[in-house]
């Protein structure tokens, strides 16, 4: 059976990045390329205009069989219930999402309708609701993917997606499609924090002391 792969997440959570990974991995994408690449998404948005009308018209959904389509979280509720969906849910720190949104709107000469704090609250509430709803839906098979993990360890994510979809993908091309320079709105501007496994650099001597302390309290 051809799978319907849905990439979802809040705006600016890495959905376009994931669409690009899937495309380069060998998954056909359902897009009409109406929205062109720009400074906010230089590699493209991979959107499909008819998704915006999903509330009224879902007749196009069969065109998504065997393909990946980007659908924002708010519209997941309107997907036909008689179909099965493989959902790739992108997750990113809400603070970073709001900062990235603000920057995008400013580039377009627009302002945010709500304050940053209000946006964070609304997003957190929405995420809680949609995740609770997804738990109840038998026709959604979901994998949650961290934006940060895609940036820091694209290989790991690519392998997880391959396993999740049960489809052989071009892992190398998926890895190469991730551009870490586009990670522009880090929530914490702390030098060195994004380097994974800094603990691996603790000297051997320090490790021995850690082992000793843990042993004394019965942890080893």
């Amino acid at each position: 059976m051809e799978k319907i792969i849905v990439v979802t997440g809040l705006p600016r959570s890495g959905t376009s990045m994931m669409m690009q990974m899937l495309k380069n991995g060998g998954i056909p994408i359902l897009t009409d390329e109406v929205r062109k690449p720009d400074e906010d998404n230089p590699y493209g948005y991979y959107e499909f205009e008819k998704v915006k009308e999903l509330k009224k018209d879902s007749s196009w959904i069969d065109n998504a069989k065997g393909k990946a389509v980007k659908i924002i979280t708010e519209l997941l509720y309107y997907l036909p219930k008689d179909k099965k969906y493989f959902l790739i849910f992108m997750e990113r720190n809400v603070n970073e999402i709001v900062k990235s949104q603000r920057a995008m709107l400013e580039r377009k000469g627009q302002i945010m309708k709500y304050s940053e704090d209000e946006m964070k609250l609304l997003y957190k509430k929405h995420l809680q609701e949609i995740k609770e709803w997804l738990k109840e839906q038998d026709n959604f098979i979901t994998i949650f993917v961290s934006y940060n993990e895609v940036i820091n360890n694209p290989q790991n994510v690519a392998l997880k997606i391959q396993e999740f979809l049960g489809i052989e993908l071009d892992i190398d091309k998926m890895i190469k499609s991730v551009d870490p320079t586009l990670y522009r709105h880090k929530s914490l501007d702390l030098e060195g924090l994004e380097e994974k496994n800094i603990s691996a650099k603790i000297e051997k001597k320090e490790k021995e002391k850690i082992i000793e302390q843990l042993e004394m309290l019965g942890y080893l």
């Binding site: 997750e91 720190n93 603070n95 709500y114 304050s115 704090d117 209000e118 609250l121 609304l122 949650f144 993917v145 961290s146 940060n148 993990e149 790991n156 997880k160 929530s187 914490l188 702390l190 924090l193 380097e195 994974k196 496994n197 800094i198 603990s199 691996a200 603790i202 320090e206 490790k207 002391k209 850690i210 000793e212 302390q213 843990l214 004394m216 309290l217 019965g218 942890y219 080893l220």
Partner: protein
């Protein structure tokens, strides 16, 4: 309403005292016996109650959950040690491995400064908006302090991150003395920073309570124990410390809130339960040496293995180098292990209360790194994952073990919490909400 929700109030302060490992039941007991006059008075107004904590119920996980409001699947810390992904190589997760911003970072985005003293799981210290002195497990003081300009003052105080546990474990006289010394230094440091630093959130954690209870819990339980009075006396010193901080708190000219909590409870050990030995005796675990030292000495044919204290991993093909379990057998094996674990008995008494599958208690992007099963023991049965034992049940000399459901929480503003995961959000709202 939303627009007013986060209106900043510059004149709000929050004070948090952490007592590592202090059980709710112990505090209630000592308060009822009039041993803790300050906490008795403080807890008589506001909300004081038990909370449940993280699983596993160890400080590195629980304090991480306190700081982030998240479970391990989101913040990424599953224990004091873990495997490097795709290997059996052990590493020791530290503050740098925490995947989620802390409450101090989030408050900093609203220009709120925090002073944090001796909070476990914050080593090595990194920049936070304010001051951070790391707690256990912290090896070098130079790496446990942000900003480093504070180091000379801490050295002047003879600041120590922890007591000398290697000596204290077997020398109760020394334990009591060293706990006292450490408490004095902690209080001196807290006093200094309270007066000399501009802060919005002030947090100090006492970890001596955890050490006392690991090494001398029998002394609490047994009134005739030679160190029973010394045990109570230490808690009375803690009570005096809390009273002094609370007095300073009352004098703050600001809207304020006072919180106290522990990261797990404690109870007396009946027996230790060596889970890896049980797995070995039941054919699930093999070693590549006759004298395994650590779980990384795992051998071919291993089906499942454990990491401290209660984490069970299935040796999946494709996930681990010597993985033998096919994915199609995963769920059946999990069920089989769960049933078998629940059957483990000590003198006829089942040792486990419950066995969880990972998705039952963890959510988030790091769920893949979670143990496949997590064991919750009954009080008295201290689960261990050491591979150096040749029996399933035994003792090591430790007297107290952690508990999941007897930690405590208090807030003077009547803000209720039932789990450690809720506290961060309540603190943030307290500091950022418009004054009523």
């Amino acid at each position: 309403m939303l627009r007013n929700f986060f209106k900043k109030n510059k004149n709000k302060k929050v004070v948090i005292i952490g007592l590592d490992g202090t059980p709710y039941s112990l505090l209630k007991n000592l308060i009822n016996k009039d041993k803790l006059p300050n906490m008795s008075q403080i807890f008589s107004q506001g909300y004081f109650g038990p909370i449940t904590v993280s699983l596993p119920e160890v400080s590195s996980v629980s304090w991480s959950s306190f700081m982030t409001g998240a479970n391990s699947g989101t913040h990424g810390i599953y224990g004091f040690m873990d495997f490097k992904p795709g290997t059996y190589e052990i590493y020791f997760p530290n503050f740098s491995d925490l995947k989620t911003p802390t409450l101090f970072d989030e408050l900093g985005e609203h220009s709120k400064k925090s002073v944090v003293i001796n909070l476990p799981s914050t080593y090595p210290a990194r920049q936070i908006p304010g001051i951070l002195i790391s707690g256990f497990v912290a090896i070098e003081l130079e790496k446990a302090v942000y900003p480093s300009s504070l180091l000379p003052k801490l050295k002047e105080f003879n600041y120590r991150i922890d007591i000398d546990t290697s000596r204290a474990r077997t020398d109760p006289e020394f334990l009591i003395k060293d706990l006292d010394e450490a408490l004095k230094i902690r209080e001196k440091t807290a006093d200094y920073l309270w007066e000399n630093v501009d802060w919005d959130l002030f947090m100090v954690v006492i970890t001596g309570t955890d050490r006392l209870q690991h090494f001398l819990f029998d002394a609490y339980v047994d009134k005739d124990h030679p160190y029973h009075e010394a045990f109570i006396n230490y808690y009375q010193k803690i009570d005096a410390f809390v009273g002094r901080i609370y007095e300073k708190y009352l004098k703050l000219k600001a809207e304020k809130a006072f919180f106290m909590l522990s990261d797990h409870g404690f109870t007396q050990i009946k027996t230790e339960v060596y889970i890896n030995r049980w797995l070995y005796e039941n054919g699930y675990l093999k070693f590549d040496t006759d004298r395994p030292q650590m779980v990384s000495d795992i051998g071919k044919g291993t089906i499942a293995f454990a990491l401290d204290p209660s984490r069970i991993y299935i040796n999946l093909k494709g996930k681990y180098p010597l993985g033998v379990v096919d994915k199609k057998d995963y769920h059946k094996l999990r069920e089989e292990l769960k049933e078998s674990f629940l059957e483990i008995k000590y003198k006829g008494d089942p040792v486990l209360r419950k066995v969880f599958f990972k998705e039952e208690i963890y959510t988030g992007p790091y769920l893949d790194y979670a143990p496949d099963l997590i064991l919750l023991s009954k009080h008295g049965y201290d689960l261990k994952a050491t591979v150096q034992k040749d029996v399933v049940f035994g003792r090591s000399g430790l007297q107290g073990m952690h508990t999941y459901d007897d930690a405590f929480y208090f807030c003077d503003k009547d803000i209720e919490c039932k789990t450690i995961f809720e506290i961060k959000e309540k603190i943030i709202r307290t500091l950022l909400e418009k004054c009523s």
